[in-house]
């Protein structure tokens, strides 16, 4: 362990260490300096454009675009056939931006697949790009361009392209950087000895506080990863470090190297008080901070710096290293002769493994100070910053050991660290080649990491990670499988069947999988049959149907929509068909789909009555056509002729439908309408729209007995109805004379009880009594009761010897007033019993 801090380099109050991430075996023949290089942040891929310069062309070598993992494994390459590239850069979603001299930007994916392109505008096209920068802000990925005419043009988000042309500047800048502050993108540039801040409206001169007055022209500048820090390098080798707002100076340093550095980047970690900048010259790497000293490394090879959130990655043709500031926890534990609780705990655990009683001494020392939980936390935290699994393990073991001696120490942090480290170790493997530090990982989040694995087509690793971290299927496995399937459908060498089967086998009915999305992808690749096969697996009809329509499989879409039972879907398809097909075809399609047809009819009933008629016609549905005319005779036709002719059409249709009853009824209706109309003319009174019954009733009410008689005969009104109708109307009219006459006209088909009832309804007992005698014997009791003659009722009941009737009469009697009758009935009852 003594050598553990061997690669620690002190600078000011903190230590820095540089260690190997990978040894690069990418067999580069070219020198890095001859390539255009773009390494992605967060352990992203490295893009190289070889032979890019115009000079190269003369040598006959074609430019080649190659993409490697951070560990130097080739991912893809293509010969570059487009224009002159000025700058390469990665977006936050790991797409490669190739900025060409003419201002057009081509976007490629990790596998050199062309995605799209956009232009930085006409002005850039005319004046050509001198320099370009790709930058990342909370809005996404942006591009800034400096043209030959010394104008800046930039966009803050390439996915929502808004080009902004910046104001004029005094002349070509010696160095510049994109600055993002207060949600605005600005450009900081130097022109000779002056420093300017360029925003959308103005260009203002800035003077960094505490700037050495002797410092000459600005040669280089660097903005930190989080846009908060700014470093400036001036002619005599003077380095100024301060806040990017130019309000505060942290440190300065004199490197006494007058040459402009090849790269200058910040090397600091979040929330650190220490600010340090790494500068690189041909053979020298220098780290300067708040100290007059500096750390210097000799470089054997041409190298390249990649600023990261918490340090700097340095890669060359053979190595890939990480330079970073040692964190507090690590320093406390490993500093030589440290007595920090974490250090003691680590020691205690080691002694414990050796079965030495010293373990107890160390432990006691920590516990006595009450710092055990702090010690455990320290060990867990430090484990996160270690690259080597062995070291991680030993720190975690110490944490686990210490944890045993604390009551109620929440295991969450420990468990989380263990599982996350396992994931990190897996992706740091050189086969995968994503050298994420723990700090970067936390910033990036697991979801984004999974996305990046998916982008690299590392589906199985991504799924294993999801399973291991127990992410919900919905946001984890399902999403990955869906991506896999979308990739799968693009494999042109496999048959539709094979692919559909393979996809279904893998995906099954995993929740959250959208087969329709995969099918849409297949459709986009021009594989119709595959898309349809895949749609078969889609359980949600709502997702199937729109895509089928898009693929012009409207009939299939219609039957799917119907199968879904979702009427809205059916309507969607029907509307689509209506616009797509000619009318005859449209109707024919509907004919075969009764559900759709009935839905469309419903719609037509409200919106397009004429279409409805056409539909019935097409269908030879004469019954419905008859109904249709019938309805229109009552709703849309106002004039009598119109109504009659509508009804006549109905009759025709009904007769075609062989519905005799409806025919007859409608004919009667026409007859009724005509007669009512005639009545209206004659009597100047409204009869229209009355039923036959009401018409005749009204005629009787108005004393038109012969007219009523005429209707009775004309329509063959059943006798019973006519009698009921006539006597109730006469009673209402109180035409007792006519009633009596009528009662004697012939034998009543409804008997005479109704006469009694009707008279009593008008409270005319006198008239009622006239008919009682004529009531049939079996109803006579009821008629006596109706007229209120209980005595007679009793008599009649007794005469009939009918017990039920007697009970009925009894129930109508009031004991006080009708005692005589009651007695009479009781007597009769007993007599019946005797018999």
């Amino acid at each position: 362990m003594a050598c553990y801090t061997a690669n620690w380099n002190p600078l000011g109050s903190v230590f820095y260490r540089k260690f190997d991430l990978y040894s690069m075996d990418w067999n580069l023949k070219e020198d890095l300096r001859d390539c255009l290089i773009a390494p992605g942040p967060y352990g992203g891929p490295i893009a190289l454009l070889k032979n890019y310069s115009a000079k190269g062309k003369s040598s006959g070598l074609r430019p080649v675009l190659e993409i490697y993992t951070a560990s130097g494994l080739p991912l893809s390459s293509i010969p570059w056939k487009s224009g002159q590239v000025v700058q390469l850069g990665w977006t936050v979603t790991e797409d490669l931006l190739c900025i060409q001299e003419d201002g057009s930007v081509l976007i490629y994916d990790l596998f050199c697949g062309f995605k799209r392109h956009f232009s930085m505008g006409n002005e850039v096209f005319q004046h050509h790009v001198v320099e370009a920068r790709v930058f990342h802000t909370e809005y996404g990925t942006g591009v800034a361009i400096l043209t030959k005419a010394s104008r800046f043009t930039l966009t803050t988000n390439i996915d929502d392209l808004k080009l902004r042309r910046m104001p004029d500047i005094p002349g070509p800048p010696s160095c510049w950087a994109v600055l993002f502050q207060d949600r605005a993108t600005m450009i900081l540039f130097a022109f000779g000895k002056d420093l300017y801040l360029l925003d959308h409206t103005s260009c203002s001169l800035m003077v960094p506080p505490g700037m050495n007055p002797l410092a000459g022209s600005y040669l280089a500048m660097s903005i930190s990863f989080n846009h908060k820090l700014l470093a400036l390098f001036t002619e005599p080798g003077y380095i100024w470090m301060g806040s990017s707002s130019l309000k505060e100076k942290f440190d300065d340093h004199n490197s006494s190297i007058q040459l402009s550095p090849k790269q200058m980047v910040w090397c600091t970690r979040p929330r650190s008080k220490q600010h340090a900048v790494v500068l690189m010259w041909d053979r020298l790497l220098m780290l300067v901070g708040n100290s007059t000293e500096s750390i210097q490394f000799v470089l054997d090879e041409e190298s390249y710096l990649i600023p990261e959130l918490d340090g700097v990655r340095i890669f060359s043709r053979s190595t890939h290293e990480f330079l970073h500031e040692i964190t507090g926890a690590t320093e406390e534990i490993f500093k030589i002769a440290s007595m920090a609780p974490g250090a003691l705990l680590l020691e205690a655990q080691k002694e414990y493994e050796k079965a030495s009683q010293k373990a107890d001494e160390y432990l006691r020392e920590i516990k006595d100070k009450g710092l055990l939980s702090e010690a455990v936390t320290q060990c867990i935290e430090a484990a996160g910053y270690e690259q080597e699994p062995e070291m991680q393990k030993s720190l975690l073991r110490a944490a686990s050991f210490g944890k045993c001696f604390i009551d109620k120490f929440s295991p969450d942090g420990f468990v989380k660290m263990c599982s996350e480290l396992r994931v990190l170790n897996a992706i740091r493997d050189y086969q995968i080649g994503i050298p994420l530090s723990y700090t970067q990982f936390r910033q990036l989040t697991i979801e984004v990491l999974l996305d990046r694995l998916v982008l690299r087509r590392l589906y199985s690793l991504a799924i294993k990670i999801c399973d291991y971290l127990r992410l919900s299927e919905f946001q984890g496995v399902s999403r990955i499988l869906a991506h896999w399937a979308c990739y799968k459908v693009q494999q042109k060498d496999k048959s539709d069947e094979e692919i559909a089967k393979a996809i279904n086998q893998k995906l099954g009915d995993t929740p959250g999988i959208s087969y329709s999305e995969i099918a849409a992808r297949a459709h986009a690749c021009g594989r119709m049959e595959l898309a349809i096969k895949l749609l078969e697996y889609e359980p949600r009809f709502g997702e199937q149907v729109p895509l089928l329509l898009k693929m012009k499989r409207s009939k299939l879409a219609l039957s799917k929509a119907i199968e879904s039972g979702d009427t809205d879907l059916v309507y969607t398809v029907v509307t689509y068909l209506k616009n797509e097909l000619n009318r005859a075809e449209f109707f024919m399609t509907l004919q075969n789909q009764p559900v759709a047809l009935s839905l469309y009819r419903q719609f037509c009933k409200h919106q397009e009555l004429e279409t409805l008629k056409d539909l019935y016609n097409q269908d030879d549905d004469h019954q419905e056509l008859g109904n249709f005319y019938m309805r229109s005779s009552y709703t849309s036709e106002k004039r009598i002729e119109g109504r009659v002719s509508a009804l006549q059409s109905a009759v025709d249709e009904y007769s075609k439908a062989k519905n005799e009853f409806a025919c007859k009824a409608t004919e009667d209706q026409i007859k009724l309408l005509r007669m009512q109309h005639r009545l209206e003319d004659e009597l100047d009174k409204s009869y229209l729209d009355m039923s036959l019954h009401d018409t005749v009733y009204n005629l009787v009410m108005d004393g038109m007995f012969s007219k009523a008689e005429q209707f009775y005969k004309e329509f063959k009104i059943p006798d019973k109805r006519y009698w009921w109708l006539k006597i109730s109307a006469l009673a209402e009219r109180e035409d007792w004379e006519e009633m009596e006459k009528f009662s004697k006209s012939k034998k009543s088909p409804i008997g005479y009880l109704p006469f009694v009832e009707m008279c009593m309804k008008q409270h005319n007992r006198y008239e009622a009594k006239k008919y009682v005698a004529r009531v049939a014997p079996e109803q006579r009791v009821r008629s006596y009761i109706l007229v209120g003659d209980l005595d007679q009722a009793a008599e009649a009941a007794i005469e009939h010897k009918n017990e039920n009737e007697m009970i009925l009469v009894q129930s109508k009697c009031t004991p006080t007033t009708d005692s005589v009758i009651l007695e009479k009935i009781n007597r009769a009852k007993t007599q019946i019993l005797k018999k």
Binding site: G512, S559, T567, F603, A665, D668
Partner: protein, 618 residues
Amino acid sequence: MAFSDRRDAPDLPDFALLKRLALDQLIYLLEQLPGKKDLFIEPDLMSPLDRIANVSILKQHEVDKLYKLENKPVYSNSDQLCFLIRPRIKHVKYIAGIVNADKAAKRTRKYKIIFSPLKLYVCDMVLEEQGIFGDVICDEWYFYLLPLDDDIISMELPEFYTDYFLEGDQRWLCTVAKALHVLNSLFGPFTKSYGIGRCAKMVYEMWKDLEDESEGDRKEKRPAVGSIFLFDRDVDYITPLCSQVVYEGLVDDIFRIKCGSVEFGPEVTSSDKSIKVLLNSQDKVFNEIRNEHFSNVFGFLSQKARNLQIQYDKRRGMDIKQMKTFVSQELKGLKQEHRLLSLHIGACESIMKKKTKQDFQDLLKTEHSLLEGFDIRESISFIEEHINRQVSPIESLRLLCLLSITENGLISKDYRSLKTQYLQSYGPEHLLTLYNLKRVGLLTEQVPGDTLTAVESKMSKLVTDKAAGKLSDAFSSLAKKSNFRGLSKKLNLIPHVDGEYDLKIPRDMAYIFSGAYIPLSCKIIEQVLDRKAWTGLEEVIRLLNGNEFADPLSEGSPTSDSQRLILAVFLGGCTFSEISALRFLGKSKGYRFIFLTTAITNSARLLEAVVETSLNVS
């Protein structure tokens, strides 16, 4: 009460949650349109809305004026108009009219349409056709489930019946499936499902699909409701067509209960104004009589009145202190009870006046003989007279339908003559109504021999693939045989009792029809629950035209209380009589039923739904 609670009847889940969910969403939707706005509510949504949010809640969320959506010009000065409607074409057209009128007058306002329970694609089509698609904001208020009472949830979709059973339009099936999904996720998972009817089957399958889709985010929890029973209204038309004689059903038949509340007119309140009363289990008096046969109600009420008097009388001989507690604690309750009691007594008197007449007795007698299948000729002439005397168009239809269904269709001669009579009495345009009745199978002609109806045979030609199979399902529901006699015999629907049926201490569910008939729907549910399957009912299934299903859904411990909680789903409406009957069944077997219905129905509503509507709309 005539029957006592079995001690182990499980508790009901708290459905008030559904109301809170609906209210929260409504408020959210209103807040989405910030600032003062006028709200136009369609008449059919007024009562349901009233049960969810009162005016002051609406005002709190900046609703300025409230209007009923009527086919009239709008005189609103507000710059924001919000419409709360069912997804119907005529409403959308009306709104389009308003928007276009504003456009013509160069007036700019904000318009928002809230569709409840969902927006249909047709609405978009109409908006587009009227050229205002971009001018209005549309939203959906997912208000599927209104708990009317502790055990009744209504979807308040009376048009479900017409749309599905008459027009063969499946637009609401999804909504019902979604409603089941909501209930299942809140109170489930249900362990077992049963059902009968084509619609039930379709809804069930849609619901299962929904469940499968959302399987990912289901959490383990204890189910509150055990089984679910889906029932198509057209499996049993007899029960809703019978005159109701249980108190709650009678009140519904006579005064029309609307969304759980009834408006008692002056003849009941014995004052000159009407009173709106909420009828649910909160009303102590009502709760005790709602399920009783009407003949018991009066006696019960007078007993209650006496008890109340005794309680009032306690006042006498109280000292001041006791009096104080009496006034502060008991008096309010007594007053309340007093008020309700007098209302119900008033209602009873009003019912008595109407129902004890000779006509009503004759009517009941006819109904009973139709159910039993005796004296058919006599019943027919009674119906004929009923029609001839123009007693009531709906009542006449009811009797006609009852006759047709019990007799499995009318013989041709009667069919023609009764229809002619009907047209003569109530107007020839009812030809369309009669045709509609034939379509839904309520009024049919006996077809000798032929078992397949015309529609079905036509359909069967088209049945070529699965999709066509499904759609033919929708259509063959039209006009099918009722086989009532056979069913009645198989299931013993007509109880044979020696002597008089004791309505005070009922023995079976027949009490809800004065002991004359056990409701078919309830009997089927009872039989299936007893067997926990359809096995042994094969003959009954055949008579019911099939489409039964029973499906275990998830594992549940058979002993837990929730297993005896049964969600009875009526597609196309259920009547209060059926609810009373099942409550009775529950009490005698230790089940507890929860009712989910597309709407509360009764004979009048059922028939009015089929009466040709275009005749009333000009």
